[in-house]
Protein backbone atom coordinates (compact mmCIF):
# COMPACT_ATOMS: atom_id res chain seq x y z
CA UNK A 1 0.00 0.00 0.00
CA UNK A 2 2.95 2.33 0.65
CA UNK A 3 4.05 1.92 -2.94
CA UNK A 4 0.55 2.84 -4.20
CA UNK A 5 0.62 6.00 -2.04
CA UNK A 6 4.07 6.81 -3.38
CA UNK A 7 2.76 6.39 -6.93
CA UNK A 8 -0.10 8.79 -6.13
CA UNK A 9 2.26 11.37 -4.63
CA UNK A 10 4.51 11.15 -7.66
CA UNK A 11 1.54 11.54 -10.01
CA UNK A 12 0.29 14.56 -8.05
CA UNK A 13 3.61 16.39 -8.33
CA UNK A 14 4.05 15.32 -11.93
CA UNK A 15 0.59 16.54 -12.94
CA UNK A 16 1.14 19.85 -11.16
CA UNK A 17 4.44 20.32 -13.02
CA UNK A 18 2.46 19.78 -16.19
CA UNK A 19 -0.02 22.47 -15.11
CA UNK A 20 2.54 25.00 -13.97
CA UNK A 21 4.83 24.74 -17.01
CA UNK A 22 2.46 26.90 -19.07
CA UNK A 23 1.22 24.60 -21.84
CA UNK A 24 -1.89 25.35 -23.88
CA UNK A 25 -5.03 25.06 -21.73
CA UNK A 26 -6.05 21.80 -23.39
CA UNK A 27 -3.03 19.98 -22.00
CA UNK A 28 -3.02 21.93 -18.74
CA UNK A 29 -6.53 20.63 -18.03
CA UNK A 30 -5.28 17.13 -18.77
CA UNK A 31 -2.46 17.61 -16.27
CA UNK A 32 -4.94 18.74 -13.64
CA UNK A 33 -7.09 15.68 -14.28
CA UNK A 34 -3.99 13.55 -13.78
CA UNK A 35 -3.29 15.35 -10.50
CA UNK A 36 -6.84 14.90 -9.23
CA UNK A 37 -6.85 11.20 -10.10
CA UNK A 38 -3.55 10.79 -8.24
CA UNK A 39 -5.10 12.63 -5.29
CA UNK A 40 -7.92 10.10 -5.27
CA UNK A 41 -5.32 7.35 -5.21
CA UNK A 42 -3.52 8.96 -2.24
CA UNK A 43 -6.72 9.45 -0.23
CA UNK A 44 -7.97 5.93 -0.82
CA UNK A 45 -4.50 4.64 0.04
CA UNK A 46 -4.72 6.36 3.42
CA UNK A 47 -8.19 4.86 3.97
CA UNK A 48 -10.32 7.98 3.39
CA UNK A 49 -12.56 6.37 0.83
CA UNK A 50 -15.58 8.66 1.04
CA UNK A 51 -13.63 11.89 0.55
CA UNK A 52 -11.79 10.20 -2.29
CA UNK A 53 -15.16 9.48 -3.88
CA UNK A 54 -16.24 13.10 -3.32
CA UNK A 55 -13.02 14.32 -4.92
CA UNK A 56 -13.51 11.99 -7.87
CA UNK A 57 -17.15 12.94 -8.48
CA UNK A 58 -17.28 16.66 -7.71
CA UNK A 59 -13.77 17.85 -8.46
CA UNK A 60 -13.21 15.73 -11.55
CA UNK A 61 -16.78 16.51 -12.63
CA UNK A 62 -16.06 20.23 -12.33
CA UNK A 63 -12.80 19.72 -14.17
CA UNK A 64 -14.65 17.96 -16.96
CA UNK A 65 -16.56 21.21 -17.59
CA UNK A 66 -13.28 23.10 -18.02
CA UNK A 67 -11.90 20.26 -20.09
CA UNK A 68 -14.96 20.19 -22.36
CA UNK A 69 -14.71 23.94 -22.80
CA UNK A 70 -11.08 23.60 -23.92
CA UNK A 71 -11.92 20.68 -26.16
CA UNK A 72 -14.72 22.67 -27.77
CA UNK A 73 -12.20 25.38 -28.67
CA UNK A 74 -9.91 22.78 -30.25
CA UNK A 75 -12.41 20.33 -31.67
CA UNK A 76 -11.12 17.28 -33.51
CA UNK A 77 -12.25 16.80 -37.13
CA UNK A 78 -12.76 13.02 -37.02
CA UNK A 79 -14.51 11.96 -33.81
CA UNK A 80 -14.62 8.30 -32.89
CA UNK A 81 -17.98 6.51 -32.82
CA UNK A 82 -19.24 3.19 -31.50
CA UNK A 83 -18.20 1.16 -34.57
CA UNK A 84 -14.45 1.77 -34.28
CA UNK A 85 -12.10 -0.92 -33.12
CA UNK A 86 -10.66 1.28 -30.36
CA UNK A 87 -14.10 1.63 -28.75
CA UNK A 88 -14.52 -2.14 -28.74
CA UNK A 89 -11.08 -2.46 -27.16
CA UNK A 90 -12.08 -0.04 -24.40
CA UNK A 91 -15.29 -1.97 -23.73
CA UNK A 92 -13.28 -5.15 -23.21
CA UNK A 93 -10.75 -3.28 -21.06
CA UNK A 94 -13.44 -1.86 -18.78
CA UNK A 95 -15.06 -5.27 -18.41
CA UNK A 96 -11.73 -6.67 -17.17
CA UNK A 97 -11.30 -3.70 -14.78
CA UNK A 98 -14.82 -4.19 -13.45
CA UNK A 99 -14.17 -7.85 -12.74
CA UNK A 100 -10.92 -7.12 -10.93
CA UNK A 101 -12.47 -4.30 -8.91
CA UNK A 102 -15.36 -6.51 -7.85
CA UNK A 103 -12.92 -8.98 -6.41
CA UNK A 104 -11.01 -6.17 -4.69
CA UNK A 105 -13.89 -4.43 -2.86
CA UNK A 106 -15.85 -7.55 -2.02
CA UNK A 107 -15.02 -7.60 1.70
CA UNK A 108 -15.18 -3.83 2.36
CA UNK A 109 -18.27 -2.36 4.00
CA UNK A 110 -19.26 0.86 5.74
CA UNK A 111 -20.67 -0.74 8.86
CA UNK A 112 -18.80 -3.54 10.58
CA UNK A 113 -20.83 -5.56 13.08
CA UNK A 114 -18.99 -7.70 15.62
CA UNK A 115 -21.39 -9.41 17.97
CA UNK A 116 -23.44 -6.71 19.74
CA UNK A 117 -21.16 -3.83 18.71
CA UNK A 118 -21.05 -2.00 15.42
CA UNK A 119 -18.33 0.25 14.04
CA UNK A 120 -18.84 2.96 11.40
CA UNK A 121 -15.89 3.95 9.22
CA UNK A 122 -14.61 7.33 10.39
CA UNK A 123 -14.81 9.29 7.12
CA UNK A 124 -18.36 8.26 6.29
CA UNK A 125 -19.47 8.99 9.83
CA UNK A 126 -17.52 12.25 9.90
CA UNK A 127 -19.14 13.60 6.76
CA UNK A 128 -22.57 12.62 8.01
CA UNK A 129 -21.96 14.94 11.00
CA UNK A 130 -22.38 17.74 8.44
CA UNK A 131 -25.99 16.69 7.93
CA UNK A 132 -26.67 16.02 11.59
CA UNK A 133 -25.22 18.77 13.79
CA UNK A 134 -23.70 21.05 11.17
CA UNK A 135 -27.03 22.39 10.01
CA UNK A 136 -26.08 26.05 9.80
CA UNK A 137 -22.92 25.25 7.85
CA UNK A 138 -24.97 23.20 5.39
CA UNK A 139 -27.47 26.04 5.04
CA UNK A 140 -24.71 28.62 4.44
CA UNK A 141 -23.00 26.42 1.86
CA UNK A 142 -26.24 25.90 -0.02
CA UNK A 143 -26.92 29.64 0.11
CA UNK A 144 -23.42 30.32 -1.28
CA UNK A 145 -24.10 27.94 -4.17
CA UNK A 146 -27.39 29.69 -4.92
CA UNK A 147 -25.69 33.10 -4.83
CA UNK A 148 -23.01 31.78 -7.19
CA UNK A 149 -25.68 30.78 -9.69
CA UNK A 150 -26.97 34.34 -9.80
CA UNK A 151 -23.42 35.74 -9.92
CA UNK A 152 -22.66 33.59 -12.97
CA UNK A 153 -25.90 34.59 -14.67
CA UNK A 154 -25.23 38.25 -13.97
CA UNK A 155 -21.62 38.18 -15.16
CA UNK A 156 -22.32 36.44 -18.45
CA UNK A 157 -25.43 38.28 -19.59
CA UNK A 158 -25.43 41.30 -21.85
CA UNK A 159 -29.00 42.42 -22.31
CA UNK A 160 -29.70 45.84 -20.83
CA UNK A 161 -27.39 46.11 -17.89
CA UNK A 162 -24.74 43.85 -16.39
CA UNK A 163 -20.99 43.52 -16.71
CA UNK A 164 -20.95 43.13 -20.50
CA UNK A 165 -23.15 46.11 -21.41
CA UNK A 166 -21.48 47.93 -24.29
Amino acid sequence: MAYIIFLGLFGLVFGMIGVASNPSPYYAAFGLVLGAASGCLILSGFGITFLSLILFLIYLGGMMVVFAYSAAMAAEPYPEAWGNMSVVFYVLFYCVVLGMGLGLVDSIDVLSIVGEFSVVRSDWGGVSVLYYSGGWLLLILGWVLLITLFVVLEVTRAVKYGSMCL
Binding site: V19, N22, I48, L51, I58, T148, V151
Partner: protein
Protein backbone atom coordinates in the same frame (compact mmCIF):
# COMPACT_ATOMS: atom_id res chain seq x y z
CA UNK B 1 9.33 16.50 7.06
CA UNK B 2 7.77 13.37 5.67
CA UNK B 3 7.31 12.60 2.00
CA UNK B 4 3.55 13.26 2.09
CA UNK B 5 4.06 16.61 3.78
CA UNK B 6 6.66 17.62 1.23
CA UNK B 7 4.39 16.62 -1.62
CA UNK B 8 1.42 18.66 -0.40
CA UNK B 9 3.57 21.73 0.20
CA UNK B 10 5.46 21.46 -3.07
CA UNK B 11 2.24 20.94 -5.04
CA UNK B 12 0.74 24.08 -3.55
CA UNK B 13 3.87 26.15 -4.04
CA UNK B 14 4.34 24.98 -7.61
CA UNK B 15 0.75 25.80 -8.55
CA UNK B 16 1.09 29.23 -6.90
CA UNK B 17 4.35 29.93 -8.74
CA UNK B 18 2.70 28.92 -11.98
CA UNK B 19 -0.21 31.26 -11.25
CA UNK B 20 2.12 34.12 -10.37
CA UNK B 21 4.95 34.02 -12.84
CA UNK B 22 4.09 33.53 -16.46
CA UNK B 23 0.64 32.88 -17.85
CA UNK B 24 -0.41 33.15 -21.47
CA UNK B 25 -4.12 32.40 -21.17
CA UNK B 26 -6.55 33.45 -18.45
CA UNK B 27 -7.77 29.87 -18.47
CA UNK B 28 -4.31 28.55 -17.50
CA UNK B 29 -4.42 30.86 -14.49
CA UNK B 30 -7.82 29.43 -13.52
CA UNK B 31 -6.45 25.90 -13.86
CA UNK B 32 -3.54 26.83 -11.57
CA UNK B 33 -6.04 28.13 -8.98
CA UNK B 34 -7.82 24.79 -9.18
CA UNK B 35 -4.51 23.04 -8.60
CA UNK B 36 -3.99 25.06 -5.41
CA UNK B 37 -7.47 24.07 -4.24
CA UNK B 38 -6.67 20.43 -4.95
CA UNK B 39 -3.53 20.61 -2.79
CA UNK B 40 -5.47 22.20 0.09
CA UNK B 41 -8.23 19.60 -0.18
CA UNK B 42 -5.83 16.67 -0.04
CA UNK B 43 -3.98 18.29 2.87
CA UNK B 44 -7.19 18.80 4.87
CA UNK B 45 -8.41 15.28 4.20
CA UNK B 46 -5.11 13.74 5.24
CA UNK B 47 -5.07 15.98 8.32
CA UNK B 48 -8.43 14.76 9.58
CA UNK B 49 -7.37 11.20 8.80
CA UNK B 50 -4.09 11.41 10.69
CA UNK B 51 -5.73 13.17 13.67
CA UNK B 52 -8.21 10.26 13.95
CA UNK B 53 -11.02 12.76 14.34
CA UNK B 54 -14.36 12.19 12.67
CA UNK B 55 -15.85 15.65 12.85
CA UNK B 56 -12.90 17.30 11.14
CA UNK B 57 -13.98 15.76 7.83
CA UNK B 58 -16.56 18.52 7.47
CA UNK B 59 -13.75 20.90 6.48
CA UNK B 60 -12.80 19.29 3.13
CA UNK B 61 -16.49 19.17 2.18
CA UNK B 62 -16.94 22.90 2.87
CA UNK B 63 -13.69 23.66 1.03
CA UNK B 64 -14.70 21.74 -2.08
CA UNK B 65 -18.10 23.48 -2.13
CA UNK B 66 -16.47 26.92 -2.03
CA UNK B 67 -13.94 25.70 -4.63
CA UNK B 68 -16.81 24.82 -6.97
CA UNK B 69 -18.22 28.36 -6.48
CA UNK B 70 -14.83 29.87 -7.26
CA UNK B 71 -14.35 27.76 -10.38
CA UNK B 72 -17.78 28.61 -11.76
CA UNK B 73 -17.32 32.35 -11.16
CA UNK B 74 -13.89 32.23 -12.81
CA UNK B 75 -15.31 30.44 -15.84
CA UNK B 76 -18.09 33.03 -16.07
CA UNK B 77 -15.48 35.80 -16.10
CA UNK B 78 -13.58 33.86 -18.77
CA UNK B 79 -16.69 33.58 -20.95
CA UNK B 80 -17.49 37.28 -20.49
CA UNK B 81 -13.90 38.23 -21.42
CA UNK B 82 -14.04 35.99 -24.46
CA UNK B 83 -17.24 37.60 -25.65
CA UNK B 84 -16.24 41.23 -25.11
CA UNK B 85 -12.56 41.10 -26.16
CA UNK B 86 -12.39 38.15 -28.51
CA UNK B 87 -9.68 36.19 -26.67
CA UNK B 88 -8.52 35.34 -23.17
CA UNK B 89 -4.84 36.21 -23.54
CA UNK B 90 -3.39 37.91 -20.45
CA UNK B 91 -1.13 40.08 -22.62
CA UNK B 92 -4.19 41.28 -24.51
CA UNK B 93 -5.95 42.22 -21.28
CA UNK B 94 -2.86 44.10 -20.07
CA UNK B 95 -2.65 45.97 -23.36
CA UNK B 96 -6.29 47.02 -23.30
CA UNK B 97 -6.00 48.02 -19.60
CA UNK B 98 -9.18 46.27 -18.57
Amino acid sequence: MTLTNLTIYSTFMMAMAGLTLHRTHLMSALICLEGMMLAIFIGLALWCSQMDSMSLSINPMALITLSACEASTGLAILVATNRTHGSDLIKNLNLLQC
